[in-house]
Structure formats: C-alpha cells, structure tokens
C-alpha cells in the first residue's frame, strides 16, 4: 500500500522534473504568475485610476509621470493596461473554468457509463459543434446582453465540447487498458477504479488542453470586447483598448500596440506552458 502511494507521488515528481527542464515552460510559468499578480493587485500597482481623464494630457508622450504616455482622453495607459489585466484574465480563466467543469463532467459520464447515455451526450455535442465556435460565442453574448459576466458565460458555454470530447476519449482509452482489468480482478470497487486509476491517467491530455484553452479564451474575450460585447466602458480590457484606438490608428497606432502586445504575451505564455506540459506528461510524443 505504501509503495503504491510512493510510486504515485514520484510519477507527479517525474512530470515536474521534466517540466523544469523545459526553459520556455518555466519562463511561461513565471510570466503567468506575474500577470495574475498584476491582475489581483491592480489597485495597488496602478499609479492612476483607470478612468481619470485629463484633456490637457491627451496623447501625452511617455514621461516619468506616465511611463507609457496617455490616450486620447488623457488617461494613463499603463494604469489602464494594469486594470485591464484583471478583466482579460477573468474572461480567460473563468470561462475556461466553466467549460472545464461542465465539459469534464459530461465527458466523464459519457466515457464511463457508455451505452445510450454516451450516445445521447455525443449527439448533443454534435449539434453543439455544428455551429462554428465563435459564431456561437457571439450569438450567445449578443443575445444575453453586453456585459463581462455574459461574455464569460458565452465563451465558457461555447467551449464546453472540447474538454468534454477529450475527457471522454481519454476515459475510453484508459478504461479498456489492461491494468483496469487487473484492478477489477483484484476486486477493486467501481468508485476506487474511477478515482484511483482512471481519472489520474485520463486527466493528462485534458490538463494540456485546458491550459491552451485559457489562452484561446483570452483571445475570444478580447475579440468579443473589440466588437463591444465583453467588458463595458469605462472598465478597461485589452480588447476594448484596441477598439478605442481604432479610430485614431492613423496617427497614434501605438495606442493599439500596447494592449495587443499584452494579449499576445499572455496567450503565448499559456501556449508555451501547454506545450511544455504535453511534452512533460508524455515524453514519447516529443521526438
């Protein structure tokens, strides 16, 4: 009993060790931690409130008081970027959480119980996935009314099929493997089999997918905000900041550059981390 426990711990340790070797992934973890901290402590970090307008400072160049300068309404860009971190991260993380919980549950049920339960769920997912994802997202968000909360729900709901199918496929694969038969032969109960054997083995690809999905949803959230369906003014979000800059792009393109870069760095970090996790969880796939 103790040996089995020790082995499980060392498997996790193995994964962490492989992950540590991947410099890009480690770097991404740091970047993401910093971004999340910025989001949480935005109130303390931002030098100015995000909606403090000052027309005399309109389009001000970067200066010691305003490190990145000001936008067309004289608002400090750096502060707005910092506050926007919170909104964009919420869109990404919360939406993924919703999709993840709903999706994983659906996938588990379909995968483990099989039979007509599986069939019904799969048909349901088929209909779901027949609508191009962003189209569904926009439709839900618009129909529910423009707000951050609705955007989170919309993105979350439209992303459910991905983890659901992945989890189901994973469970189906693991379920048929011989070590499950072996566990059954040792008279293990169903619940024990699910918890101790199936889920730890099946969860790996889903974890990778979820990490990438966070990045994907941040992008979707920014896209929704760009067309006005996500975060509402005056609360800044990276997508809305790009939208704000759209009309003055000709002369002040840099106002659109900063928020776009922020999005890109965050999503890049998510993707690098996801790649790293995938290599760490199954090194055979790497070479």
């Amino acid at each position: 009993m103790n040996e089995a426990y020790r082995k499980k711990r060392s498997k996790f340790g193995e994964v962490v060790r492989r992950l540590k070797k991947n410099k890009a992934a480690v770097f991404s973890v740091f970047v993401l931690i910093i971004i999340v901290l910025v989001g949480i402590f935005a109130d303390y970090l931002a030098p100015y409130p995000y909606d403090q307008q000052n027309y005399s400072l309109s389009f001000a160049k970067p200066s010691p008081e305003h490190w990145l300068g000001c936008d067309q309404l004289g608002r400090d860009i750096l502060s707005r970027l910092i506050y926007a971190t919170r909104q964009s991260l919420q869109l990404g993380i919360l939406a993924t959480a919703i999709a993840g919980i709903l999706g994983i549950t659906l996938g588990c049920i379909a995968g483990y119980y099989g039979g007509w339960v599986d069939m019904v769920i799969m048909r349901f997912l088929d209909i779901y996935q027949s609508i191009p994802m962003f189209l569904l997202c926009v439709t839900l968000a618009a129909v529910m009314g423009p707000s951050l909360r609705n955007a989170v729900l919309a993105i979350g709901i439209s992303t459910v099929p991905l983890p659901a199918r992945l989890m189901r496929a994973s469970i189906l694969t693991v379920r048929n493997q011989e070590f499950i038969e072996a566990a059954r032969m040792c008279n293990a109960s169903n619940r024990r089999i699910i918890l101790k054997h199936i889920i730890p083995n099946a969860i790996a690809p889903v974890i990778v997918s979820i990490t990438m999905t966070v990045g994907m949803n941040i992008l979707a959230g920014a896209s929704l905000s760009y067309i006005g369906l996500g975060a509402q003014p005056p609360i800044p979000e990276w997508g809305t900041m790009v939208a704000d800059a759209r009309n003055i792009m000709r002369d002040h393109a840099i106002l659109a550059l900063y928020p776009g870069l922020c999005i890109m760095i965050t999503v890049l970090a998510c993707n690098l981390l996801g790649d790293g996790l995938r290599d760490a969880l199954d090194p055979r796939l790497k070479n």
Binding site: L140, A142, S223, L257, G260
Partner: protein, 335 residues
Amino acid sequence: MLRFIGKRLLMMIPIMLGIILVVQIFITITPGDPVRLMSGDLLSEEEMEELRVQLGLRDPFFVRYVNYIKNILRGDFGTSYRTHRPVLTEIMSRFPYSLLLVSVSLALALAIGIPIGIYAATHQYSWKDNLSIIAALFCVSMPSFWFALMLIQLFAVKLRIFPPSGVDRWIGWVLPSVTLALEYCATIARQTRSNMLEVIRQDYITTARAKGLAERKVRYRHALKNAIIPVIMIVGQIFGRALGGSMIFEVIFSIPGLGAYTISALQNRDYPVIMSSVLILSTLFAVVLLIVDVIFALVDPRIRSQYIGKNKRKKPPVTQQPLKPLESVEGGNAS
C-alpha cells in the same frame, strides 16, 4: 460511398433542427425586444403589441418553431425586422463574400503552411526549424483583429500598397485574406511538421531508403504523402474556425459579408436574420466537413476499402491506422 454520403446528409437534418431549436431557446429566454428597438417612439403601445402579434412574437414556443421550419421548407427565411426585405435575398447577396474570404484564406494557409511544415521537419534541430516553431507559436497567440489593424497601419496607411478597406478591387482582398490565413497557416505548419517527423521514423521509410531511393524521393513520395493525410482531417475543422474568425475581419475590412451582417443583426435583435444566418453558416460548415471526410476516405486506401470496392474489409488494426492529428484543433483567435 454513396451510402456513406447519403447517411451523412440524412444526419444533417436532425442537427439542423437541433440548431434551430437551440438558437430559438436562446432568443426566447434572453431579454431584448426587437419591436421596441425597431420602432422606438414612433408607435404607440397598442400598435407595438399589434406588431408583435403580427410578427408571431406572441405565439407559443413550439408554434414558432414549427412555423419557422415550415417556412424554410417553402424557401421563406423570413423578413428582416430592420430592412423589411426577405432574409434569403439579403443573405445570398452577402454569402459569396464570406465564402470567398474564407476559401482564399484557407487556400493560402495550406499553400504556405504545408511547405513550411515540411521544411521545418526535414531540417529538424537546425535554427530554421526552431525559428519556424517560434514563429508559429507567435502567430497562434496573436489576437487576429489586432494584427489586422497593425498590418493595415503598416501596409495601407504608411506604405500605401493595399487599400485599408473595401473589396471592390481584387487588391482589396489581399490584406484580409493574408491576415486571416496567418493563424491557420501556423496551425497547418505545426501539424504538417509533427506528422512528417513521426512518419520519417517509420519502418517503411527505412525500407524505402534501403531500396536505394534518393533522399528527396523518400521524403516526397513516401513520407509526405503519408504525412498529409491527417492534415486533410483537420482542414474541415479549420474551415469552421475560419468561418467564425472571418466575422471580425469582415467588420474591420468593411467586407459586405454574412459575418458582418450577422453581427449587426445580433445588435438589432433581428431574429429572422439571426436564426437564418446561424443556420446557413452551420450548414455550410457541416457540408464542408462532409466533403473533407469524403476526400479523406478517397485518399487513404485504408479507409477507402471500408467504403467502396468488392473487398470491403473490417477496419485495419490500430498500428496501421492513419496518424491522429496533433492536438485538439479548435483553438486560437476568435473561433
């Protein structure tokens, strides 16, 4: 094969019914009154109510559902609340633009992505390979609308090579299709690269070398043909992503396509347009997926023999199945 196609077409019907149901549910349970939006202060309360009854907005849920379906079967997709013109004409006049944008982008993505993937795979471990991986990651992590704006700024405003918007001339199509293609190009390149890497390690490649084939021939005749097959599998999914992603591009580049039309219909609560747009775009997606599956079945002899010919056999064992795609393909921008 025809049976396969027939079965798939038949399966599309319940799916379409399901889509109509789902969209109608969402329209019903969320707030927003199109009549008020349309008429504003022009009509009195009774007149607005009369209008609602006339438009069928007061009918019970299933009556509306069945009526909509009955109308579609007659070819009547409803009348736009905003423009009062038949929805079908509006949609059909815009549909070609969307289709063209997505098709050109996809073609570009394949034409550029596949060679890059092959190049990266055959130069593995070199700086060219690493560069392509990094570039692909960047492309996939960028917000597409932002990138489009940046490119407009650079090429249209500063350099004045392309027009910033409008597709009346062919040159106006370059910027939108290239920008839209970029992200999918990266996905296709990554997929091709990883497939090539996997295929190159297979025994039959060593056999080909041992036969005395020049390395070039080994690569293109044997390796590439095998590696491309899973890429075909994902083209359908990418088409769906591109359909979704193109919506924003139509807005940015002022392309009079179905996506932009749908977005404005959503903002105006133009129910018939919303319903029909979603239905038509989803049907297009389903048809493309079917076409891709048929091509895939024709191209891969292992799958082909399951469907046509007198030697119909069971599925070949797992070791001989075609490669599975790299990762869940749905991901990235606006899709």
